[in-house]
Subunit: 355 residues, 2 copies
């Protein structure tokens, strides 16, 4: 696909995957599917051959940039952009848009998280082509995943009534309560907001200028820095002060000419160990074990431990047990969201060494 | 107390305390009470000052003899007897009796396990004095602990009706079912068989001769070996073939002139992590934690981990979580008996390195 660039967002830590996820080995650098590939490498693979590595830009943090580069040896080092400070998705995408526009004024951006899971590569590739086409025509395009359950952990998109592979968007909806989510699942016009976006660099920069003038001014300074061969210095000064806003809230919700490509492939944002458990291969007792283990009357476990460690489980059910050598997590599987509370407490305790 | 010798039996591994207990660091060499002292050192302490370390004999296995000696530096090295092979308590006590008799023909033996817990040292010392006195008069004496619950994990002793600090024994009873145990608790004549015994060396050797002639012949050979300065060689040949029998079944149940000293102090044979949990200090949520830990909505846990390891527990209840570096156990607290199944499976797998 000519003129098409992927922008892979790899800024987060994914702290719900503690103790496996750390500041220096965030979620996207882990293999959470048992495939032997990191999440970010799988994200790159999925784009091939349509968007070759030379046209892939990765935005990550300074502390992880080298590790990301090692995980993606095919991507040119200069395409890995390191934010001085995480400022949510709008500044990240805006900065990447500057680079895409300089490489190719007609450039289309396929923006995607680095840590999501997609089940069907061929279906994904087809949907990307459809979305890129719509982006070329000037739309801001989203992937809307058809829900298979009343998920309360995702935002939704309501599409206008219609047919076809590209639909008009009526509105974005915040994470619903369970009752509302059940209605959405039954209504064919509601889809999950996957957090994947497609637009030309020119169009998104224009929308940022219209809707987020403060961010736009900051991006202009950075663009001048790039022109002057002085990007890093300007970045260090300007980027940390940019408004920390999501592209959803800052741009998409207030934009016009928004389209949605409804997609049907399996998609999972792998938000927690519980989501990872769903994806892992399991034995007949529902145990997903990546460790040397002895199980006695135990069911529904996710177990992960370093090589050489023996893990014995007796009479326990529906737990997440993750050992990383320096840390151990034992968590009820349906409480996996609360791993964040552990991370918060470790922060309070000043245990940066474990974060 | 003149002429009195303690015989501390330290032959077992205590495999229900895996992964903390190992062949080379068995239960009696662990601190399972959080006191900072090993179980065996606490056993020695409890006998002071009545039975000084010079009159303490410890019977253990060859593989653990050096570790036992290090744990009990006060006990003369020659008092630590190493069995070539564990043969249950009758051969162990018989062999120790040979040594006591040679040291002191009038010697009284206070025989006790190395891995039990006693709550009240003064009450214990008083009861020992009473029991030793009765032993001197020719009785085989047991400690009978007054039950405070219908425990099905212990054997019981039925005493004849009567009063006083020394009672006649009617019979020994095997581990009962719950219904029977409930009756025993209500009946003041039933007490737990604590596994602690008192008798003269002469009397127990005579009983062994009468009731266990095969063991008696073996012991005679060993005694001749001692006389000839050739104990180790004879031991290696004779001991492994001795009948593996308990003193309870082999001698006590068939003996006459059996007495019981009923005692009221807290006593616990610490048979499993669950028993250890009962003894540990707990926070207001019933968590006994000997580790660097973060607990979120968790109750009724026993947690133990090496220094430097962070353990996070989220939404879990009534578990035993024990990390030893090379191994990790996660077990429902009321299934702590089944840790033995893990040990059995590791044996089957040939994982001697973990046992």
């Amino acid at each position: 696909m000519e003129h098409t660039y992927a922008v892979i967002m790899a800024g987060g830590v994914g702290s719900r995957f503690w103790p496996a996820s750390r500041a220096e080995s965030p979620k996207q650098l882990l293999d959470l599917t048992g495939s032997g590939r990191t999440m970010i490498a799988a994200t790159l693979d999925r784009l091939q051959p349509d968007i070759p590595p030379e046209r892939v830009i990765v935005v990550t943090g300074r502390i992880t940039a080298d590790a990301v580069a090692r995980a993606l040896p095919e991507v040119p080092r200069e395409n890995i952009l390191a934010e001085p400070k995480g400022r949510n998705t709008a500044p990240c995408i805006g900065w990447a848009a500057l680079h895409v526009k300089r490489k190719d004024p007609r450039g289309v951006m396929a923006v995607m998280p680095s840590d999501h899971l997609v089940g069907n590569k061929a279906a994904f590739a087809g949907a990307v082509r459809t979305a890129v086409e719509a982006a070329r025509e000037g739309h801001l395009v989203t992937f809307g995943v058809r829900p298979d359950r009343p998920e309360t952990g995702f935002g939704y998109i309501e599409m206008k009534r219609g047919e076809g592979g590209v639909r008009q968007v009526k509105r974005f909806v915040e994470k619903p309560d369970l009752e509302t989510a059940k209605k959405y699942v039954a209504d064919k016009n509601f889809v999950w907001n996957s957090g994947m976006f497609f637009f030309t660099a020119e169009r998104i920069l224009a929308e940022i200028e219209r809707q987020m003038p403060e961010l736009s001014r900051g991006l202009s300074k950075i663009d001048q820095g790039i022109a002057a061969g002085d990007e890093q210095a300007v970045l260090s000064e300007v980027f940390p002060a940019l408004p920390a806003q999501s592209i959803d809230y800052g741009v998409m919700e207030g934009a016009i000419k928004i389209a949605c490509v409804p997609v049907d492939f399996a998609w999972n944002d792998l938000g927690s160990w519980s989501a990872a458990y769903e994806m892992w291969e399991k034995d007949e007792d529902g145990n997903a074990v990546e460790a040397d283990a002895v199980l006695v009357d135990s069911k529904g476990l996710l177990v992960r431990a370093p090589k050489g460690k023996m893990v014995a489980l007796v009479g326990v059910e529906n737990l997440v047990v993750v050992d990383t050598g320096d840390s151990l997590l034992v968590c009820r599987r349906d409480r996996a969201q609360d791993v964040k509370k552990v991370v918060d407490e470790l922060k309070d305790k000043g245990r940066k060494d474990l974060l």
